[in-house]
């Protein structure tokens, strides 16, 4: 029998307000094995931990139960405290009487009763705990960054500067991401390319960084410190070592009708292309779906004009397999499809555009060379209307429930830039709320209103109707004046909601990282661990975790890098000792467990078994503790009941069930 100590935490009033902690102490003292029980204001505090320490030493406790917050919060804290007092850390169990009890029940008697039951279950379990020793696994000192936008670039540079090897995997032909598509950035209005390009160059030139563009992550296996990743380098059809980036092939390519992804389909590109002039690497790819040579077998002009002889039509996808200690996800975002909002006439008129398309129009390297003009007839607009929250803050199934966060600021930026460059253009913004939390953000928005004369109207637009004369009739409402507004506009700009990149769910599944219903990756703790995924060794950088602007993205990218560096700096990691274990006497060597193991951790060995005096040579299961992650699938699959999970054994769970149903 164990000598169990029970420690009941008040958590200030968080627990004590709804659970009678004294009563819990009184009740649990009667439980078998309990030799010590006490309550304290804050068990996790230094003084609280000192009490645990003292009790372990004075009463010779062999197991402890802490009735407190969720084990996801402080299990590690109490395990360390026990270890310091000389107790095996796995002799600690937590009864969650805060999240699962005091916070959700209002009636004191009821909550106290439940707390006692939860404590009893934990006591019943700890009575059957056995000391466990964690193993060790080596850390591969190399990080993988998935996504080569500003988030991925910054994370990679920060990790590389700390002296570790980093690989960036980017699915498009160039790094740069969404930021490379932007014209200017708020709130300082510096040119996006001017601040991004040096970062791209720095990443490319860094001796510790390897960039895989036009590549995707195909497969991930392993676990924290020891991931094995297959990277698919899609066939570029260009020899990257030979290409000089002269660009002649793109000029001469006769297939020029593919919509340019970089310019959001506002103009076209050739079949052999680099997405934009400052692309890194400055090596084109051949879009095989558009290339005449690949479609008909005739053409081959690029091969003829390439003086470096870099064109290689025979190139195939290549799989690079690499080991990593840490993985950072920086997959970024896209804007939602706005054609589903028929009232805004996006698919009916070329002059209804999204804000990201406006970025391309305003950009000197864009489809209109930076001139603000209508895409339908090339005329200079006189009246521009901006519509906010298109698809954001929607509870219908078309839009997104969240606020996209960046639209208020970039709309103020667009309005200001247009009024600055073309004072003859009237700009009207229909808004629901203007949200500008951030350093110098509200001042920026007020400048648009006060210094640049942008007309902000509180209200929404109900309909945009293309007129026979080519203009757009905007029907909106001014809620302050309580008037409906009919306004002729030459261009309408929609602040479309942003959403995580489509690919992210596939990547999250490969990494077994949690993802929410909006396809944002879930952080380990919303406040205290915002850049770590609940899956150990996986970190989050940028918009894949939630909407954010560039300064926030860069800050989070640095934070994710620090977390990755903290992991890579370790030579060894302690492995989870709660692994499966086979009872050799009961195992009949049927292989059922090996078939359900997702990690290939179970192998079979033929050995001599002494079964109650009978010596026999048998085939029995053996678990590799470094590979086993402790899911327990094998324990249930095992037909003879030989397989059990340490720390969550059959007997322990049954004891919990019994205690709860008592």
């Amino acid at each position: 029998m164990q000598r169990v100590g029970v420690f009941v935490c008040h958590c200030g009033s968080n627990i004590a307000a709804t659970v009678d902690v004294k009563k819990v102490v009184e009740m649990v003292s009667l439980e078998p094995g309990v030799v010590h029980a006490e309550d304290y204001q804050y068990m996790c505090s230094e003084a609280g931990q000192a009490r645990i320490d003292a009790a372990i030493k004075e009463k010779g406790l062999t197991g402890i139960v802490v009735c407190s917050c969720s084990p996801r919060m402080h299990e590690a804290t109490f395990r360390k405290a026990a270890e310091r007092a000389g107790l095996n850390p796995y002799m600690v169990e937590i009864a969650n009487i805060r999240e699962h009890c005091s916070w959700i029940h209002k009636d004191m008697e009821e909550a106290t009763k439940k707390a006692v039951v939860l404590a009893r279950a934990a006591i019943a379990k700890v009575n059957l705990n056995a000391p466990l020793q964690p193993g060790e696994s080596l850390v591969t000192k190399r990080a993988l960054v998935i996504g080569g936008g500003i988030a991925g670039i910054q994370t990679a540079i920060d990790i590389a500067d700390a002296g570790y090897e980093v690989d960036i995997v980017e699915k498009t032909p160039s790094i740069g991401g969404r930021m490379s598509q932007l014209d200017k950035t708020f709130p300082t209005l510096d040119c996006s390319a001017c601040i991004l390009t040096p970062k791209m160059v720095e990443a490319a030139a860094h001796e510790k960084i390897t960039i895989y563009t036009y590549s995707e992550v195909d497969k991930v296996t392993g676990f924290v410190g020891d991931f094995t990743v297959d990277i698919r380098k899609k066939a570029r059809s260009i020899d990257m070592n030979k290409c000089t980036g002269c660009g002649v092939c793109q000029e001469k390519c006769p297939s020029k009708k593919t919509p340019s992804e970089f310019n959001r389909g506002l103009n076209t590109r050739s079949a052999i292309y680099t997405p934009f002039a400052q692309a890194i690497p400055n090596v084109p790819v051949i879009d095989r779906d558009a290339c005449i040579k690949f479609k008909t077998g005739k053409c081959g002009i690029c091969e003829k004009v390439c003086q470096a002889g870099a064109i290689d039509y025979e190139q195939k996808d290549e799989i690079v397999t690499q080991k990593y200690g840490a993985i950072v996800v920086a997959t970024g975002f896209d804007v939602i499809k706005v054609d589903q909002y028929e009232e805004y006439a996006y698919s009916q008129s070329k002059d209804v555009i999204t804000s990201l398309e406006l970025e391309r129009i305003m950009n000197a390297a864009g489809p209109t060379k930076g001139h603000l003009e209508r895409l339908s007839d090339g005329k200079h607009p006189k009246e521009m209307v901006f519509i906010q929250c298109v698809g954001s803050r929607c509870s219908d199934d078309k839009g997104k429930s969240y606020c996209s966060k960046i639209c208020c600021m970039y709309t103020a930026k667009h309005a200001m830039l247009i009024r600055d460059k073309y004072p003859d253009v009237n700009v009207t913004v229909f808004y629901i709320d203007v949200r500008t939390p951030g350093k110098n953000f509200d001042e920026f928005y007020r400048r648009a209103v006060e210094d640049y004369g942008v007309n902000y109207i509180k209200g929404q637009v109900g309909k945009v109707a293309p007129q026979p004369d080519g203009s757009l009739l905007v029907q909106g409402v001014d809620l302050i004046d309580n008037k409906q507004i009919l306004k002729k506009a030459d261009m309408v700009v929609l602040a479309a909601a942003i959403e995580p990149e489509k690919d992210v769910r596939r990547i999250a599944t490969m990494l077994t990282a949690s993802i929410d219903t909006n396809n944002f990756l879930t952080e380990s703790h919303a406040k205290l661990r915002p850049v770590e995924s609940p899956t150990a060794g996986v970190f989050l950088s940028g918009v894949c975790q939630g909407p954010k602007d560039i300064p926030e993205t860069v800050a989070q990218a640095g934070a994710a890098a620090v977390k990755a560096i903290g992991l890579l700096a370790k030579d060894k990691l302690l492995t989870n000792p709660c692994t499966a274990k086979a009872d050799e006497l009961m195992c009949n060597g049927c292989s059922t467990c090996a078939n359900v193991c997702p990690y290939g951790a179970i192998t079979y060995e033929t050995k001599e078994i002494n079964d109650h005096g009978i010596r026999e040579t048998r085939r029995v299961a053996s678990v590799n503790n470094a590979l086993c992650q402790g899911c327990g699938a094998c324990t249930v699959a095992c037909p003879s009941g030989a397989m059990d999970l340490q720390g969550f054994s059959n007997r322990q769970i049954l004891a919990e069930v019994d205690a709860i149903c008592r």
């Binding site: 009232e343 929250c389 803050r393 929607c394 509870s395 219908d396 839009g399 629901i432 509180k458 209200g459 929404q460 637009v461 109900g462 309909k463 029907q475 909106g476 409402v477 809620l479 309580n482 409906q484």
Partner: protein, 131 residues
Amino acid sequence: MSGHLHEDMKSRVIDISGASPHKCMKCGKCSASCPSFDEMDIKPHQFVSYVNNGDIEALMASKSLGKCLSCFACVERCPRDVKPGKIVDAARQMLIRQQGQAMLTPEDVPELLDPEVPQQLLMSAFRRYSR
């Protein structure tokens, strides 16, 4: 009028309409979409606050009830699924019920049955015009 009755009328409007006034984020897209906006004294986006404030009587006295075309553009375009148009419908229905006469009794229904008339129409008329 007592607060209790206010609450009662409010919950009746919500029940009849199936609208969710508490979900409104005051964007005004309903009023921006309304083809009869100029002729209304209470505007579509205000319907919602009248219900939220429990001021159903004012809504029932409003001339907007007669001006609403029940085109449901506001219902269709509302980003928060509030259904302002259904609130007008509900207010109209309560007005008709309050006016007292049962325009349609269960006894009337059999003689209205006609293979040409969809039964759904009879059902909705019955819901609307009986007491």
